[in-house]
Amino acid sequence: MELLLVLLVGILYSAGIYLILRRSMVKLLLGFMMLGNGANILIFLMGELTKGKAPIINGDNIHFTDAYADPVPQALILTAIVISFGLTAFAIILLKKVHETTGTDDLDSLNIQDLDI
């Protein structure tokens, strides 16, 4: 499974890079989200994959008795997901605003419209 995920990371990064090199702002944003997902999987892989064993202590125990998934990458990813949501939400609204003001979604045409805005 690890090798499959490694492949997935590569695919998500490629797709992300390809999309952020496009002229459309929406694609730029989608590419950004792809990159974020790829990075999350990458971090996830750094803790060894442990199938179905959440890092939660069972019942009345005070210590783990069984194998458990690495909690540190999970904590990092959780933070990353939430922060990237903040960024994405902001960017989406910004995009809407730009589109309303300039009437275009093309990044290139923004260069020459300084005076019109």
């Binding site: 490694v6 959440a54 458990y68 809407k96």
Partner: protein, 768 residues
């Protein structure tokens, strides 16, 4: 000494505040400032005049780096220090009258004072780094002085050229200092004296002296960097007199003289100095007689004199060093006088064209005397100090070790001196004698503050010319010893009997007079000289500068073209190149197959769905499809999290992904379909970039899997999660307890994003 220099700086800035007082007649009192420095420096004569001792001042600045504000006063420093403060006194006095009533006089005096302080710093500094700092300060303050008439475009351009050329030299001086410091592990110049052999045997010796030479040649206007000096004549005349004859341009010569006992005496040293100095002195002397503007003549004859000084340092024998010390003093005395006289003539008659000036003797009797003395000194007529210098110059050429070469040297010196004599007469004799062309109307009768300085200089020229032993005992011996590293007595005298150098001097005067009388025909051949302007160093360098500017412009246009995606592409390609190279060059690539978990069919299905969704997101022409496909990718990742023991992540990813998609759709559903932008060629290129980046990341991930991360931190959290934090979900406890502050700050970040979103939406409402 240091206190004195810093006090000068403080006073320099202080003068800026005295806008009103400098406009009164008491402003002449300001020349007491350089005069008191002059007197103070005179008090050192007793300690250093035997040539053996020097006065050292040590004060620490950044001792850990070996950068200290050390000063050392020996004969060489003192000769230059006395010239700076002595001629400074006269120039201050002169300037207060020359620029009388100028609204920015206070600024002028302030720049001049800062310059003087920096110059004193250069000649007394005993540390390479502080020497560099003072060196740059002289460049900067001279920039302001040259561009003082800043409403004239030519003035500004000249100031910029001067700064560019001398600033370039400054870089080389710093590089020189750093390399020397690295080799000898000291920046203290007097300590370098004992490490002379270490430096000379170093494989970097040639590099060191080339850097030193570049610094000195740019400052001292040596060929091919000489052209900034004629341009710098746009400055007010007191500045030309001070900076461009007596002090700043000699800083380069000082630098070479200072390092002569440390780095000098080798084949490379002499050859480069002889060649560059030789070209400069002959080129400058020859050019000087083709000018009509008095300042132009003076600029080229100054270039020639500086070349001569460098040439003498290149000869490097004891007698040449004596000649150099004497000529520094003699040249400063007569050349400063020439400049000051030119300024008076210009001030009174509003022209500096020597073809329009004749018979001024009638109007300026006292000035004529000073001018004639200066002209005689520059020609080397006996009883002037210039004569002593000229004799020694010929002696040093005649006594060069290699007889054949000495003939060439004497030939070059003779040629230079002939033309220098001619140009000296053009300035000091021609405008003053003969019958006046017309009845000049003297608009400004020069007052004593203008007349006195050249007369004082003339007095010293005669005094030292008649009694050279005074100069010798007081300062020349000590100067020579500082350059030579050991005391060798060689008393100066007027009469050495009839010998070759006396005959050469006589021939120089005769031929120089011939050059002078040939002025008319020189002048008409100016057109011939102008034909070669195209290959003049100034134009070549201007050409290079222009090309460089165009290159920078194109470079900027390629890399900074205003398109976000081309910046990203450059960054990504660079990253791929750099990391890819490192990865393949230095990392043994391998795949860890131990302990991998096998995959089930449903996992493969999830993977395939993700891939299909990604392909859809890229290829679709519909915005909605693209957004939905990205949402699907997010859900698939959510499933992967759930499979591998991360329920919290799964939940968060699910919630956030839903929210993002909904938000996206709410905002975007009104927008038109994607435009198909960009051609297939660009898409292909971007695909290549993107795929190589993806492959690179995959390889990095594989390599990271070979050496798994340290589990200590995870274990610590897992073991203490209940005992310390009374929680059982480790991920949650890490977020809200162990790393609680981080989460709180994350909350702040989200709030800021929310505020941003809110204000953008609000802004729209206001607008409507």
């Amino acid at each position: 000494m240091l206190t004195l220099i810093f006090l000068t700086f403080v006073l320099g800035f202080g003068i800026l505040l005295l806008k009103k007082p400098v406009q009164t007649k008491f402003v002449a009192l300001i020349s007491l400032l350089p005069f008191s420095i002059f007197l103070y420096l005179l008090s050192f004569l007793r300690s250093v005049k035997d040539g053996v001792n020097s006065v050292l001042y040590r004060s620490e600045w950044i001792p850990s780096l070996g950068i200290n504000l050390d000063s050392k006063i020996d004969g060489l420093s003192l000769l230059f220090g006395l010239l700076i403060s002595g001629i400074g006194t006269l120039v201050y006095l002169y300037a207060t009258s020359y620029l009388r009533g100028h609204p920015l006089l206070h600024r002028f005096l302030s720049y001049l004072t800062i310059f003087m302080g920096a110059m004193l710093g250069v000649v007394t500094s005993d540390n390479l780094i502080t020497l560099f700092i003072f060196w740059e300060l002289t460049s900067i303050s001279s920039f302001f002085l040259i561009g003082f008439n800043n409403e004239q475009e030519e003035s500004r351009a000249s100031a910029l050229w001067a700064l560019a050329i001398t600033g370039l030299g400054g870089f080389f001086l710093l590089s020189f200092g750093v390399i020397v410091g690295a080799i000898t592990s000291t920046y203290t110049i007097s300590d370098l004296l004992t490490q002379s052999d270490v430096l000379k045997d170093s494989p970097f010796y040639l590099l060191i002296i080339v850097f030193l030479f570049l610094a000195a040649f740019t400052k001292s206007a040596q060929f091919p960097f000489h052209f900034w000096l004629p341009g710098a004549m746009k400055a007010p005349t007191p500045v030309s007199a001070y900076l461009h004859s007596a002090t700043m341009v000699k800083a380069g010569v000082y630098l070479l003289a200072r390092f002569t006992p440390i780095l000098g005496g080798t084949m490379e040293w002499s050859t480069i100095l002889l060649v560059v100095g030789g070209i400069t002195m002959t080129y400058g002397a020859f050019h000087s007689v083709f000018r009509k503007d008095m300042k132009g003549i003076l600029a080229y004859s100054t270039i020639s004199a500086l070349g001569l000084l460098v040439f003498l340092l290149g000869i490097g024998t004891e007698i040449a060093l004596y000649a150099m010390a004497v000529f520094v003093l003699a040249h400063a005395l007569y050349k400063a006088a020439f400049f000051l006289i030119t300024g008076i003539v210009d001030h009174a008659l509003h022209t500096r064209d020597i073809t329009k000036l004749r018979g001024l003797k009638k109007y300026f009797p006292l000035l004529t005397v000073a001018a004639v003395i200066a002209a005689l000194s520059s020609a080397g007529i006996p009883l002037t100090f210039g004569f002593i210098g000229k004799e020694l110059i010929y002696e040093s050429g005649l006594h060069y070790i290699d007889y054949n070469l000495s003939l060439v040297l004497v030939g070059a010196l003779f040629f230079t001196n002939v033309f220098l004599t001619g140009s000296g007469f053009l300035i000091g004799i021609k405008p003053f004698f003969g019958t006046p062309i017309k009845d000049y109307c003297i608009s400004h009768k020069p007052d004593w503050r203008l007349i006195a300085p050249p007369v004082v200089l003339g007095f010293f020229t005669l005094l030292l010319g008649i009694l050279p032993v005074i100069a010798y005992k007081e300062i020349i011996l000590a100067t020579f010893s500082a350059m030579n590293g050991a005391v060798v007595e060689m008393p100066l005298a007027i009469w050495h009997g009839v010998n070759t150098s006396l005959l050469l001097s006589g021939a120089t005067i005769v031929l120089g007079t011939a050059v002078y009388f040939g002025f008319k025909c020189w002048n008409s051949s100016m057109n011939v000289v102008e034909r070669f302007e195209g290959i003049a160093p100034k134009n070549i360098i201007a050409f290079i500068v222009e090309k460089f500017r165009q290159l920078a412009f194109r470079y900027t246009w390629v890399f900074h073209n205003g398109y976000l995606r081309s910046y990203l592409a450059v960054i990504i390609v660079f990253f791929i190149g750099l990391v890819g190279y490192k990865l393949f060059a230095d990392v043994p690539l391998s795949v860890n197959t131990v302990g991998l978990s096998e995959f089930r069919t449903y996992e493969l299905v999830v993977f395939l769905i993700t891939v299909v969704a990604v392909v859809f997101a890229i290829n679709t022409a519909s915005r909605l499809t693209a957004i939905a496909a990205t949402g699907v990718v997010g859900y698939c990742i959510c499933l992967i999290f759930v499979f591998y023991g991360a329920p919290d992540l799964g939940m968060t990813q699910f919630a956030i992904d839903t929210l993002t998609t909904v938000l996206f759709l709410l905002v975007m559903f009104k927008l038109p379909a994607f435009l198909k932008l960009g051609n297939s060629k660009i898409q292909f290129r971007d695909a290549i970039i993107a795929i190589s980046f993806g492959i690179l990341i995959s390889i990095i991930t594989l390599q990271a899997l070979v050496s798994p991360a340290d589990k200590d931190i995870s274990r610590y959290y897992a073991e203490n999660v209940y005992t310390l934090a009374k929680g059982k979900n480790v991920v949650n406890v890490i977020l809200v307890d162990f790393r609680g502050f981080d989460t709180m700050i994350e909350g702040i970040v989200l709030s800021i994003a929310a505020l941003g979103v809110f204000s953008m939406l609000k802004y729209k409402d206001d607008e409507e």
